[in-house]
Amino acid sequence: MLNRLWAVRPTLLRNGALGLVFGVVAAIALQVIDPFNPFLVYQLSSVMYFAIAAAGLTVLTGLNGQLSLGHGALMGIGAYTTAVVLKSHTDLNPGWVMMASTLVTAVASIIVGAAAARLRGPYLAGATLGMAIGLPGVAVRFSNVFGGDAGTTVPSLTPPDALSTIAPEVWLAWVGLIPAVITFVLLTNLVRTRYGRDFRAVREDEVASALYGIRVARTQVLAFVLSGACAGLAGSLLAYTSNLAAPGSFPLTLSLLLLAAIVIGGLGTLPGAVWGALVIVFVPDWIGSLNDAVHLPSAVRDQLPLALFGAVFVVAMLAFPHGINGGLVRLWRLRSRRRRSSVSEEAVGSV
């Protein structure tokens, strides 16, 4: 039955339907989840923006093979766009604000992507690392626009009058859910189109792709811009969620957290981005609650999640390069293979 669903064409229709189902399920879940636990709802909003940004990074790093350590800074561009737009147009619909943030970040990504398309491996990592560390300084320097070290506040979202029974936190999660579902539908679709194939072809072999007629540099810039647009959208949501766009919200660790999300989820799989986002939001909290039983010193407790994610990088690269989703896929294949009891000689790809 699942196979028949998978055969529905065009793919946009199928993925749209799947996205709708997922969205409805998540929306119901949002209603069921205790709205009087604002912290949990706040965490869910964080999952939304982390998932969007991780999905974008998955397209860039997993599918196209370009490593970016600067996506935290790109989220910063999105967040600051939101803050600056809202400063002059306080009542603007969040949909327009998010679109503006996405667009501005996409334009910024064209510049970075054009440079990135000429860089490989460690050079690209170093350049994007410079972006992650350099951009917050720009926000501090031009403090009359961006509010300096303290940042710029973003007014919190309130539900429209017709829906005033909904708590503001829940409304925020609702507002976050919509762009998240749209992003995942579009990206899932993109992965299966000509562009997705071009991305993967360029990742596997640039020279062969060029011989085949794929414009390598253009494909890489396109991947970067798409990915940057996702980061911008995520940054806008982050600004709405935290009511603030400040240089301190976009440290190098944010970029590394996003990388951790896609490494945990498995490089190159979109469902993996959701897994990764869930892990990076809920694991720190889980460690905190675990601590109530163990009573570690606060310095240890605060830093434990980061140390854990660092260890995940190391362990994942040494032992488990396909992440949670890759592991699940492999288990699934193992099971179905055993059931059919015929060995199909398929290469277990990373996608």
């Binding site: 000429r118 990592a125 690269m317 040494l318």
Partner: protein, 292 residues
């Protein structure tokens, strides 16, 4: 004294520190074709070791030596224990691995020593010197910085050019298979290479801490400067690292002095991208990298 001259002198002193970190990156790149993004974090950790030893013994030089020794050990452990297993894998994996080390170090150090900003002692005064009645922008500590980095450069040059150990190290970096056939213990030399590279990194951490202060991610920006310096020098040449470091020091000093100190890191980013676009092989690269 003109402002320009002041900026030039402080730029040279800062540039020597960037050169030391660039040197660490270059040595590791030459040996294993890996950029060690954890180099800054390792230097930060060894500087905390130095601070602990200084506070325990009351003597700066014990801390100095402890930091260098800790760098040697940490680099060797990182190579033998972790990096060895991805050395022949895809470059992306090695990068992610060193980033994992960075995260671990920046989380474990505040677990042990706390996350608050600490001051770090200097063995000599960091106030400007007075020469012939006028103050020049150079402090005795700056002079010490320049001297000790140059000393390390010369020592490494002697090691690589004039000793059998250096010859084996160059051989195992240049052609590991052939070196192995000729009886060179390639693996051990790679471990040792990471060790001495981390000593250079630890030196950078010690030299930057008195002015920059010490906190768990104080080396993040210095890592970007060092990387830019190393790329400027071609990522493959120790002399290039020195020249690149000095150029970065001067450029950032002028950017900070004339445009505002908050723009230094962004300036480094612009310089890095400009170099990579215009001259991706750096100024001192001997072999051509791939071109697409």
């Amino acid at each position: 004294m003109s402002y320009f001259f002041v900026l030039t002198l402080t730029g040279i002193a800062a540039g020597m520190i960037y050169a030391a970190l660039a040197l660490a990156l270059v040595l590791i790149w030459r040996a294993t074709r890996i950029v060690n993004f954890a180099q800054g974090a390792m230097a930060m950790a060894t500087t905390y070791v130095a601070l602990a030893v200084i506070q325990a013994t009351g003597n700066y030089w014990f801390g100095f030596i402890a930091a260098l020794a800790a760098g040697l050990i940490m680099g060797a452990i990182a190579e033998r224990g972790i990096v060895r297993w991805v050395e022949n894998g895809p470059p992306l994996n090695a990068v992610i691995l060193t980033l994992g080390l960075l995260l671990i170090l920046e989380a474990v150090v505040p677990m042990i020593w706390g996350a608050q900003i600490r001051s770090f002692p200097a063995p000599f005064s960091i106030a400007s010197m007075e020469v012939g009645g006028t103050f020049i922008a150079l402090s005795p500590f700056n002079v010490f910085t320049i001297a000790v980095v140059l000393l390390v450069m010369v020592a490494l040059l002697v090691l690589f050019r004039f000793t059998g150990l250096g010859l084996s190290m160059r051989a195992s970096a240049f052609a590991p298979e052939i070196a192995r056939l000729l009886g060179v213990r390639v693996g051990r030399l790679l471990t040792f290479g990471w060790g001495i590279a981390s000593v250079a990194g630890a030196l950078a951490g010690l030299l930057v801490a008195p002015t920059l202060l010490l906190y768990p991610n104080n080396m993040d920006a210095i890592l970007v400067y060092g990387f830019t310096a190393a790329v400027l020098g071609g990522l493959d040449s120790p002399i290039g690292a020195l020249v690149g470091g000095l150029s970065m020091g001067l450029a950032l000093s002028f950017i900070g002095g004339y445009l505002g100190p908050d723009l230094e890191t962004a300036g480094a980013l612009v310089i890095l991208i400009a170099i990579l676009m215009v001259r991706p092989h750096g100024l001192f690269m001997r072999t051509a990298e791939r071109r697409v």
